[in-house]
């Protein structure tokens, strides 16, 4: 199974391309032929924007930067070095990739709105620089002999063919991204970056790869745009409208879909061009009004875009019955049968995790101070302590969300301090969150597959297999097709657990997995944890519901005000007067005596 099925991508692309070329064959009018040449170019721009912004959620207002760099590379190489666009376009594409790294590297540290605003500034800065350099209007020279070697064709139809081949390539690339860990990782980052990092997704690397692919496609589109129009001016390739158009194609057709940008361009470009041709002489600016109204209407009535809207409506008509059946099936959490006589392996001597003198202060507050402990193979260690004792901070230090002020965390042969969360995860330390962090708009299976990528670095099919196994271990296999946003809190907890398990962790860090659950639900989770322990899984669990912890932990570590108060067997720890005084209080002492 593929991660998201785009059935027969290559065949669909070829069919659509042939249909498009056949349609173009019927058109004689020069102006309409030009429109048919340009539609694929803007479709490419839409795809370029979509591959990066659509999947990652970082909205770029500046894709004109790559478009313009591609266009000027082709034009200036042709004029200056007589270099044919056949080589100029690949060169421009390379320039686009370089530009995308130069832009991406500093800009990725910005979030949300700041990122969008910064992206806006890049093409506009380039616009003025190119004007200042004296490239206000660059015209490529005509070649008389063997002009096809310079991409100067006698028939407009040839231009349409090249254009179609280019966009077909772009669709193929974007389709491959969509259906692989590339697209799924980006989608996970978009929906919850911290969770994605925690699940082993290297967010920075994926974003950089995405903007490189995106910059390449946009620059190729720009390069061919220069070939088609012959004249290049800074406002036409670096201007706001080029950036906006890229975004609009994708938004209109459908964000984070393979065909959305193509549909957007196929509808909007002819519409605005024909209006422009009919009314343009009297009414300048009709282009912009059409695009503006299109995205306003889209955001108000179909924020997902045209394609997903139509697809949903179609599915609702054809598959309403299947859905309600799935709805009914999903309500039961079905734990798999345990083989009779299976016994828990003894706790090993090997130290899996060794924390030494770990400290972290926030201003004057010592959240974690001089904490040391060890976790042995196959052991279930319960970390308890009142609210604010530093339990979650401790986990954040272990998995790299927060940097330690001092201390060391030895995991096997690796020192975890200084590593990023995704690296820690991929080494084999999985964690869940106190407040569940699902990827709400992905299915349960996709959520868990993201976790499985950490264990299976190459093969996507194998990752899906691991994800299914993990879902089965927590009894959630029946839910695999349900969107995570529709789960109840027990199901969310179990899904998150499955996401961690899918990464095949050597050690599990569970952060208040029982929080906010009713007593029956707690029993389900405890049964799952119990079973994991029976399978020999090493677990560290944070909790403050004492009753539950006494039943599953082999050993307790009590934290108070950031430091270790006591450690040992549950029965000993709960009788320790210091613990009783600091945390449990008199009531528990009475309870324990009975």
């Amino acid at each position: 199974m593929k991660l998201d099925q785009e059935p027969n991508l290559l065949r669909t692309i070829i069919l659509v391309a042939i249909a498009y070329l056949a349609f173009a064959w019927l058109i004689d009018d020069k102006y309409y032929q030009l429109i048919l040449t340009i539609v694929p170019i803007w479709a490419m721009m839409g795809i370029a924007w979509n591959v990066f912004s659509g999947y990652s959620g970082l909205v770029s207002f500046g894709h004109a930067a790559f478009f313009g760099i591609g266009a000027y590379t082709v034009a200036l190489a042709m004029i200056g070095f007589n270099l044919s666009p056949w080589f100029g376009i690949p060169l421009g594409t390379l320039a686009g990739v370089i530009a995308s790294v130069l832009v991406g590297y500093p800009t990725f540290k910005l979030r949300g709105v700041y990122f969008s605003l910064a992206m806006l500034a890049y093409p506009l800065t380039l616009l003025y620089i190119f004007e200042w350099l004296g490239y206000q209007e660059v015209t490529m020279q005509m070649v008389r002999e063997n002009s096809w070697m310079y991409m100067q064709f006698s028939s407009q139809y040839t231009y349409i063919i090249v254009s179609t081949v280019l966009v077909a390539t772009a669709v193929y690339v974007s389709g491959r991204i969509h259906a692989s860990r590339f697209g799924l990782s980006l989608t996970a980052i978009k929906q919850n970056e911290a969770a994605a990092e925690g699940a082993g997704v290297d967010a920075a690397a994926w974003k950089l790869r995405a903007i490189m692919v995106s910059g390449a496609i946009a620059a190729a589109a720009g390069g061919y745009y220069a070939v088609v129009l012959i004249v290049v001016t800074p406002p036409s390739v670096f201007g706001m409208i080029a950036s906006a158009q890229a975004m609009i194609m994708a938004l209109f057709g459908g964000v984070a879909t393979v065909w959305g940008p193509v549909i957007g361009a196929a509808v909007l470009i002819p519409l605005s061009e024909i209006l422009h041709a009919e009314l343009g002489n009297q009414v300048h600016g009709i282009h912009g009004v059409v695009f503006g109204l299109a995205i306003i209407a889209m955001i108000l009535y179909a924020p997902e875009g045209l394609l997903p809207r139509v697809r949903d409506a179609w599915r609702r008509r054809s598959g309403a019955a299947d859905q309600s059946a799935a709805e009914a099936a999903r309500r039961t959490v079905q734990l798999p049968e345990v083989a009779a006589g299976a016994e828990r392996p003894p706790i090993g001597d090997r130290i899996v995790l060794k924390v030494d003198d770990l400290s972290r202060a926030f201003g004057g507050l010592k959240a974690v101070s001089n904490v040391s402990f060890e976790v042995r193979q196959g052991e279930v260690l319960g970390i308890i302590g009142p609210n604010g004792a530093g339990k979650t901070t401790l986990f954040n230090l272990l998995n790299g969300f927060i940097r330690a002020d001092q201390g060391s965390v030895q995991f096997g042969d690796n020192q975890l301090i200084g590593l990023k969360p995704n690296q820690v995860c991929r080494l084999g330390v999985g964690r869940t969150f106190q407040v569940v962090r699902p990827f709400p708009r992905m299915t349960v299976l996709q959520n868990v597959v993201v976790g499985a990528f950490a264990a299976e670095q190459q093969n996507d099919d194998r990752a899906v297999e691991l994800a299914r196994q993990a879902l089965d271990r927590v009894g959630m296999l029946a839910h695999e097709k349900v969107l995570a946003g529709g789960l109840n809190s027990l199901e969310l907890r179990l899904m998150e657990l499955a996401r961690v398990l899918a990464g095949q962790p050597q050690i599990l860090l569970l952060d208040e997995t029982l929080a906010g659950l009713g007593s029956e639900e707690i029993e389900v989770i405890l049964a799952v944890i119990r079973r994991l322990a029976d399978e020999g899984q090493t677990i560290v669990i944070i909790e403050h519901t004492m009753q539950a912890m006494v039943r599953i932990a082999d050993r307790f570590l009590v934290l108070d005000h950031g430091s270790v108060l006591a450690a040992g067997k549950p029965a000993e720890v709960v009788r320790d007067p210091a613990v009783i005084e600091a945390y449990l209080g008199k009531k528990w002492m009475d309870h324990a005596k009975h």
């Binding site: 500034a121 906006a244 600016g285 009004v289 695009f291």
Partner: protein, 315 residues
């Protein structure tokens, strides 16, 4: 001698920077207010400025306001028109993607807001092109071409000029900015606007009509920027696409001052004006705007929380 000329040029550039920067400051206050009071990133703010320019131009032309204060009156009434436009846009479109509806959702709804306001910006800019044509216009007043002189200073060598139209614009800008600040911080209505910004849900439970508060905030923000546009129109030629040049200036100023702070926004705009004018001493004219964008990039990359203090003062 050459040193004197250098300093004369420098002082002149600083004066020009302060004069133009104060109007930038005012337009930044408009944008900053919308962000501060609504948490909305408004991309159409440049078009409000552009419409303010056209508004002032046509008011002056139709009513023959060509005296010294004419453009100011034109700008003020233009601001009033923009207030109505802002309220209308908010009621008809922005409510769908802002306010209570998006509080606490993914990215607080910034993604749809950016796109919605980009759409509005495209429609307004190109609609203006259809309505007004693309011939550059400016409001002609006797003040635009004359100046008050300061000097001679340093013996007889230095003479500094204060362009009259720009000086009037500075005075009006400062007055309006102070008035708006007082309104938002001292009056009852202003306080309810701030409450609605701070915590829309809680404000609703306190009986504040958040939707209406946001509508007023958006109207005021549009009006202030429109007024600033009207002031600039008295000495700066404009066309329908001018909004784009200024929207980056505005964002530069607002980010410089710390996103969400009104006072910061004014200082931010002022600094941008200074940078722009002083850079003319060193850089060719075409690179003036490139310089602003570059400064903007540097600010946003290295101090996204703004230059003025770490804690962003929320309006």
């Amino acid at each position: 001698m050459s040193a004197v000329i250098f300093f004369e040029n420098l002082f002149q550039a600083v004066i020009a920077g302060l004069l133009i920067g104060s109007v930038y400051g005012l337009m930044c206050v408009g944008l900053g207010l919308i962000f501060g009071l609504m948490r909305v990133i408004n991309f159409a703010q440049g078009e409000f400025l552009m419409l303010g320019m056209y508004g002032a131009f046509y008011l002056c032309t139709w009513f023959g306001l060509s005296s010294a204060v004419g453009p100011v009156i034109g700008a003020v009434f233009s601001g009033v028109l923009l207030y109505l436009l802002g309220m209308g846009l908010h009621k008809s479109l922005l409510t769908k993607a802002t306010g209570i509806k998006v509080a606490g959702t993914e990215g607080e709804g910034h993604y749809p807001q950016l796109i919605l306001t980009l759409g509005i910006s495209l429609v307004l800019a190109n609609g203006a092109l259809i309505l007004f044509g693309n011939t550059p216009l400016s409001i002609r007043t006797p003040y635009a071409g004359s100046a008050w002189e300061l000097g001679p200073l340093l013996g007889d060598d230095m003479l500094l000029f204060f362009n009259k139209a720009r000086t009037v614009a500075l005075v009006v800008s400062v007055l309006v900015a102070v008035a708006v600040y007082q309104f938002v911080h001292r009056t009852r209505v202003g306080k309810s606007l701030r409450a609605a910004a701070d915590n829309p849900a809680a404000a609703t439970y306190m009986g504040i009509d958040v939707e209406r508060s946001h509508r007023i905030s958006f109207g005021i923000g549009a009006a202030i920027t429109g007024l600033a546009g009207g002031l600039i129109a008295s000495y700066y030629p404009f066309q329908p696409y001018i909004g784009l040049d200024f929207v980056v200036i505005m964002y530069a100023g607002v980010v410089l001052g710390g996103l969400g702070s009104m006072i910061g926004a004014f200082w931010g705009g002022l600094v941008i004006g200074l940078i722009q004018q002083v850079s003319t001493l060193f850089l060719p004219l075409q690179l003036q705007n490139a310089m602003i964008f570059l400064v903007f990039l540097l600010i946003i990359l290295f101090r996204p929380q703004g230059l003025f203090g770490k804690n962003v003062e929320r309006v």
